[in-house]
Amino acid sequence: MKLSKAQYDEIAQFLGHVQPTRQSLRKLKERFPGQSQSTLLSIFSQEYQKQIKRTHAKHHTAEAIETYYQRYLNGVMKNAAAPVLLELANEVDFAPSLMARIVLERFLQEQEGAVPTKTLINSMLRDPSQIPDGVLANQVYQCTVNDCCYGPLVDCIKHAIGHEHEVLLREMLLEKNLSFLAEEQLRAKGYDKTPDFILEVPVAVEGHIIHWIESKASFGDECSHQAYLHDQFWSYWNRILHFIFCIC
């Protein structure tokens, strides 16, 4: 789907400084009824991620972590049922999932005396029932569920979207009768880096020759374009030449 630069800028402008909650998303939808929810969510997510990248470091200083943890403890002491963590995250302008991670990490560190492994933390965030403290488990879950830009749920949704679009893309290629090699086949052939599809016979799209297609299934703003180019595409380019950057 095409979106003009002006429209995109307008959306980005609106997003400015919002919290990644469903309330914000609802407002966004009301403001731009012409855009699909997935487009908006994708842009929202990207804009928010940019914002978080800028401020990430300041939330991870030892002092900040300690402050957050103490505030969490105090908050829960007063009222365990209140959305303490979520409100804390919103107050300091940080993603709730990430806040949950910070506090959880701090909590485990205190309990077990050692820095917990990333795997453990991730697994607890995915399934909070593993968290040894019941109150914290609920708090963490509340954060991850309410976060629409970060967290295991969002990650999974993104992954699912990616997969679905790959299937769709395959469908479309088959429909158009384009012979292609998919990622699995490429891996079996020993390609070290593989795009989603390599066209066995290149095609021309709007005057550009296309050799391969990579579906990112996310909104392609300039920044992510740059990042993807850097991470993946040059390494493909060294191998396969022209590509199409397919963004749905």
Partner: protein, 1285 residues
């Protein structure tokens, strides 16, 4: 690390190297060779000469100092005669050319005007000392009569006589050494050991006695071979000169400078020597039978040793500093090592371990950081230390101590006084340099892995070496290019239209005929003794050259010359050339590939010089290159040289821009193409090196001097020559290659080019910059495996650069003193499409082909094994002469050869495009054949393996590799039919392709012949590839499959479900179901609201929830878009939703008051029941992954209940029963979950309720087997429940 200390480093590294050489000097004089001492030739000259001067003045008594001085001074030929380098007269003395360090620059090796006999320098070398030699031999012969009968007696088995003999020996020995007690009861071998211990002193004996040790006089009918003779007579080779020479790895020919000038002698080197010394020896040799001769010699050697010892030991180690013969005697001292037993190096006898370790660390860092001029030279040195023999006996130590007390300052303690220390140090360094060592070729690795000193000093290193050896695939053939070649046919471009006149055309035709006539004559005769190039061919060449009146002819002839040069001298690998025209190919066609490798190995052992020449031989023109060099020199034509240079430059530039087209991923089907690319690269590289060498030869020819000219002339010469432009802008090419990351192609040929510089050229501004750039590159290229450049690529560049720095005309101060101009090239290098450095192009074969001197490491180790053979039984294997009948298939061999020649002739007469077509077809069909086999046969086999492995997957991990091997072994048998299938494929496809590609008008006979050849070549190519790679391929494929099976089997879900996806879509599925991502998103929204925080009036419509669940069911039924991750997430989310529903946390709205009489609460409950029911059915029916329903009874879910004030347990119980009814959880499982819930901290009233619920659940299930609906039973007010408890 060390690099930052630039200033210190400048002086420190040469100091360290000299210190080590100095310290080990005494030990190493016994070693198998000494050329490694020449590294110091690169030490700072100024420092050296300063020292030389001052220490000379200081007098001769300063033993250690003077020896160090010698170390420095050994850099020039002069050192062989006198340590003072400034005496040009000594340099020009003909004897000097005999020494390996010196002949680098010696004229006789590289220039034809010296006669062949002249270049056979060992002979010459000894001429000077002929008289003394005779004298000593005479005195020596006097002792033999006594010994001889005794030895004979012993041989007969007469013990009494032999004991007398031994007694004599012992007496003699006693007279030499103090401690009789030790040797009193030693057996013969003990005696030998003794002898080896004595040897160091013999090494230090005055020069006039050295010839006693001389190899020529005492050909190596050594202890090792004599023992072999006794134990395995069948394997004995008669002591013909060749066989006697070879297995003992004697450095006989090391005196001659190059394989070229040796080549007449190298084939039968001892033939020459026998002749020379016929007067002394022949009588002896011929009068005694082979085996007794052997023993005689042994005895003689022993006697000689004693004599030597006698004369030298009383005087102590008389180290005469003016004794420039040091090199000389150390050579000869090294000769008898084969007959000695190696001193047993003992870890417990190592002294000053700590210092040694520190030294080793320091030294290793220097090597690792490329601070030494040549890393392989250092490795050679280390191996010398490792294999050093002798001077461990206490009396030697004592001598040494006494000796050192006088002249050595306290700071310089002798750390390398004994073998133990040397070996310890060597093992330490090897351990640290393991990464390099492990990349050496397999033979060297084998010798290292089997080295018992390493095994005893560092079992860890031994083990790693063992592993490296076992996994190494780097078999390398050191075969030199064969010199016998057929004259190539002349290709295109020579027709009339290329010439200005008929006359010119005819002249060229004539010239070509003459040229080939000369070439043939050279081929036939140049190995004959007494044949002299200049004398025989010189005038004819010059006469031919005078015909070149027109410039046109010069360029034509230069092109022909160059083509012929490339064709004949490209190198042993013949990479890049097409089928049938490499020299080895003839042989291959004659023998077939099976026999070829064996033949090659055999030939290698005969032809490859086994002498240890040190890791830095001078530049040489081996084999056929000799002809071309001599031709240029004899022709002496300026015009021709100019045209040839033009032609060489052009070709070099063309080849230097080689690009590898099809560089694809590293395995899979690209295998063959990749190999072809590698071959192409190898071919280009070898050709470039060859051409660059000749270009360098031509460019620097006018300035070449026989001796290093004095430095006074330097300034004016440099000023003069700085004005001219370089013929080929190597600096620019080098810079560009660094920028484009193509150094792996460019540096090796630039090195060849520069290796022929004259003595002043490096001081020119231009070449100074080139050297400085190379030096910078050398420093920069620290060995490690990284993305930018593969390890072996680096190793090759380091090896050739290191070699260049040792070339005699390259000034020695260059490495240590020259300022490194920091060009930023390396960092600016860009990743371009033509980059080669990152491609793993170099393998050990190429490395050793480009740097044959690396083979010296192996020879050194091999000679150690030979020397210590008597003790550990590690003999060099003898070549078993084969019986006559094995040559039976000879007629067919000649037939095959004829066949090959016929093919050549066939192509000769056809347009070149025919040949190209045939070769192209052969290449492609061969490649396609392999691909086809992979896709069909191999794929089938892998499937078969999968079936075979299927049942066994579940066995223990440990058995897996064994299991794999078993299965693979079964498959290999079937794999054998690949060859048959391959042949079939080629026979089918080859002719088709040839027919299509050749012109329609091609005659039938030509066509069918071309088809046959194409099929033959294609089959050969495919079969060679298949027979070498098929098993590995099958194994790899099976392993991959197996690993996939393991993974599938491990964690619960994967590919079976993934496979099932497509199957399981309902037959009429339109794939219109909502996307999983959409559903997850919606459920997430519901959860958000349920978990809160939410607005007061926020809620979810019941209808919406109902719809969501039904869409969830649809989504899960259409498997098209579902992936495992999303399905798992859906499962988790729905369980969470159910928990929230059960605890009534979902604010359901919009319930229609269907039954208005019922209270609101009741309606809500019913709604929840219905939602839970559909959830249960979705879980049971639609999910493919296990749903984590047990989370319903986790503390987190139950705590939702605890938080509610009005707890509704009936929903919970309903859920539990539902789970059981739907078969999602078992009773026992639920019970245990409930039970474990009690362990947590709950409010006391809640805990009580929990217990009650558990009890109810358990009792219901135990009592009511066909029971009433649970919800009915439990549907009672909370109060009742509480009362019951």
């Amino acid at each position: 690390m060390l690099v930052p200390h630039v200033l210190l480093q400048k002086d420190f590294v040469p100091f360290l190297l000299n210190f080590l050489r100095e310290q080990t000097r005494q030990i190493l004089t016994n070693g198998p060779s000494t050329p490694a001492k020449t590294p110091n030739s690169k030490a700072i000259r100024s420092l050296a000469s300063q020292r030389t001067g001052s220490e000379r003045r200081a007098g001769n008594s300063a033993g250690s100092c003077s020896s160090r001085m010698q170390l420095f001074s050994q850099k020039t030929p002069a050192s062989s005669c006198t340590p003072d380098t400034s005496f040009p007269s000594s340099v020009s003395s003909s004897g000097s050319s005999a020494f390996p360090g010196s002949n680098l620059s010696s004229p006789c090796s590289d220039f034809p005007r010296t006669s062949p006999s002249f270049s056979c320098s060992p002979v010459f070398n000894h001429n000077e000392k002929r008289s003394s030699q005779k004298a000593s031999l005479g005195s020596f012969l006097m002792t033999t009569p006594e010994v001889q009968p005794m030895r004979r007696g012993r041989r007969k088995g007469n013990s009494s006589v032999s004991s007398i003999g031994r007694q004599v020996v012992r007496d003699l020995r006693r007279s030499l050494t103090e401690d009789d007690g030790k040797t009193e009861n030693t057996s013969l071998s003990g005696g030998r050991r003794k002898q080896s211990e004595m040897d160091p002193t013999s090494a230090n004996s005055p020069p006039d006695q050295l010839n006693l040790n001389n190899f020529e006089e005492f050909p190596p009918m050594s202890a090792a071979s004599s023992l072999t003779n006794k134990s395995k007579p069948s394997r004995r080779i008669n002591p013909t000169p060749v066989s006697a020479e070879r297995p003992l790895s004697k450095p006989k020919m090391c005196f001659t400078s190059t394989p070229v000038s040796q080549s007449p002698a190298a084939r039968f080197p001892s033939g020459t020597s026998t002749k020379t010394f016929a007067a002394n020896q022949e009588g002896n040799i011929t009068s005694i039978t082979g085996s007794s001769l052997q023993e005689e010699r042994e005895m003689l050697k022993k006697e000689r040793c004693k004599l030597l010892h006698q004369t030298s030991s009383p005087a102590g180690l008389s180290l005469d500093p003016s004794m420039s013969t040091k090199l000389n005697y150390s050579w000869s001292a090294s000769l008898p090592t084969d007959s000695q037993l190696v001193t047993c190096a003992d870890l417990s006898k190592v002294s000053c371990k700590k210092q040694l370790e520190q030294l080793a660390q320091l030294y290793s860092s220097c090597i690792s950081e490329n601070l030494v001029p040549n890393i392989f030279l250092e490795l050679f040195f280390v191996l010398q230390l490792l294999t050093s023999k002798g001077t461990t006996s206490s009396e030697d130590d004592k001598n040494d101590l006494e000796f050192s007390q006088g002249c050595r300052d306290a700071v310089e303690r002798q750390h390398f006084r004994n073998v133990h220390n040397c070996v310890y140090f060597a093992v330490q360094v090897l351990d640290r340099q393991f990464e390099i060592i492990s990349r050496l070729e397999k033979g060297t690795l084998k010798l290292l892995a089997e080295n018992e000193r390493i095994a005893s000093f560092s079992p860890g290193l031994h083990e790693r070496l063992m592993k490296a050896y076992e996994s190494s695939t780097a078999k390398v053939s050191l075969l030199l290019p064969s010199s016998i070649q057929s004259v190539s046919f002349q290709p295109e471009t020579d027709n009339r239209s290329n010439f200005p006149s008929d006359r010119a055309f005819h002249i060229f035709k004539k010239q070509r005929d003459i040229f080939y006539e000369l070439l043939r004559e050279w081929e036939d005769n140049h190995e004959k003794p007494g044949w002299d190039f200049e004398r025989v061919l010189g005038n004819r060449i010059r006469a031919m050259m005078t015909h070149f009146t027109a410039a046109y002819n010069h360029s034509h002839f230069a092109r022909l010359f160059q083509k012929q040069l490339i064709q004949m001298c490209k190198g042993p690998v013949g990479g890049g050339t097409s089928w049938g025209d490499t020299p080895d190919q003839d042989v291959l066609n004659m023998l077939g590939s099976d026999n070829l490798s064996r033949l090659k190995r055999l030939q290698e052992r005969f032809v490859v010089p086994q002498s240890i020449r040190g890791p830095c031989p001078p530049p040489a023109f081996p084999g056929c290159q000799q002809f071309f060099r001599d031709f240029i020199l004899s022709a002496g034509s300026y015009q021709f040289n100019q045209h040839l240079m033009d032609s060489l430059c052009l070709k070099i530039l063309e080849l230097d821009s080689l690009t590898l087209v099809e560089h694809e991923p590293s395995d899979g089907e690209a295998d063959m193409d990749e190999q072809d690319e590698k071959k192409r690269f190898t071919g280009a590289l070898m050709t470039l090196r060859l051409l660059a060498k000749f270009l360098g030869f031509l460019v620097f020819l006018p300035y070449r001097t026989v001796d290093p000219p004095s430095r006074d002339l330097q300034e004016s010469a440099v000023a003069l020559r700085n004005q001219t432009l370089p013929v080929l802008d190597v600096l620019k090419l080098l810079r560009r290659s660094i920028l484009n990351r193509r150094t792996i192609l460019t540096v090796p040929w630039v090195v060849e080019f520069l290796s022929l510089v004259d003595h002043f050229a490096p001081f020119l501004d231009y070449y100074g910059r080139v050297f400085s750039l190379l030096l910078q590159l050398y420093r920069y290229m620290v060995l490690s495996e990284d993305k930018e450049m593969s390890f072996l690529n680096k190793l090759l560049i380091l090896a050739v650069l290191g070699w260049l720095f040792q070339v005699p005309s390259v000034p020695e101060e260059l490495f240590f003193t020259s300022e490194i101009r920091q060009e930023r090239l390396m960092r600016d290098a860009v990743m371009s499409a033509q980059a080669l450095d990152s491609v793993p192009l170099v393998d050990q074969q190429l490395l050793y082909t480009c740097c044959p001197y690396l083979g010296e490491l192996r020879k050194l180790l091999a000679s150690f094994v030979a020397g210590s053979g008597a003790k550990n039984g590690g003999f060099i294997r003898k070549i078993t002469p084969t019986a006559a009948e094995s040559l039976a298939p000879k007629p067919s061999i000649t037939q095959q050869k004829l066949q090959v020649e016929l093919e050549q002739a066939f192509f000769h007469n056809q347009p070149p495009s025919l040949r190209r077509t045939v070769e192209f077809v052969a290449e492609r069909v061969g490649s396609n054949c392999v691909k086809h086999i992979k896709a069909t046969l191999v794929a089938e086999l892998v499937k078969k393996a999968e079936v075979m492995l299927q049942d066994k997957v579940k066995e223990e991990d440990a058995k897996h590799s064994k299991l794999l091997d078993e299965v693979c072994a079964q498959l290999y048998e079937e794999g054998a039919q690949a060859l048959h299938k391959g042949r079939e494929f080629c026979r089918l496809k080859g002719p088709e392709a040839v027919r299509v590609l050749l012109p329609e008008e091609t005659s039938a006979a030509v066509l069918s012949r071309a088809e046959d050849i194409a099929v033959g070549l294609a089959t050969e190519k495919a079969c060679i590839w298949l027979s070498t790679n098929l098993s590995a391929l099958i194994k790899r494929e099976v392993r991959t499959t197996f690993n996939r099976m393991l993974r599938v089997q491990g964690p619960s879900l994967p590919s079976e479900d993934a496979e099932g996806e497509r199957r399981s879509c309902p037959p009429d599925c339109q794939h219109h179901a909502p996307f999983p991502s959409q559903i997850i998103n919606e459920i997430k929204d519901v959860l958000c609201i349920a978990v809160g925080p939410r607005d007061e009036d926020e809620g979810i419509c019941y209808v919406q929830l109902e719809g969501l669940l039904s869409r969830l069911s649809q989504t899960l039924r259409c498997r098209k878009f579902v992936c495992p991750t999303s399905e798992q997430q859906l499962a988790r989310c729905t369980v969470e939703l159910a928990s929230l529903l059960v605890s009534d946390r979902v604010p359901i709205q919009g319930l229609k008051p269907q039954t208005p009489k019922k209270p609101e609460r009741h309606r809500v409950k019913n709604a929840i029941y219905s939602l839970l029911k559909s959830l249960l059915s979705v879980w049971k029916e639609d999910f493919w992954t296990p749903v984590p329903v047990q989370l319903m009874i986790s503390r987190k879910s139950v705590s939702y209940m605890a938080e509610v004030e009005q707890r509704e347990w009936d929903l919970f119980l309903f859920m539990l029963h539902g789970l059981v009814d739907h078969g999602l959880m078992g009773n026992a499982e639920i019970e245990s979950c409930l039970h474990s819930l009690r362990e947590f901290l709950w409010p006391s009233d809640f805990l009580k309720e929990l217990e009650t619920i558990s009890r109810i659940f358990i009792s219901e299930h135990n009592v009511a087997e066909p029971r009433t609906r649970p919800c009915e039973l439990v549907r009672q007010p909370r109060g009742t429940v509480a009362a019951q408890s």
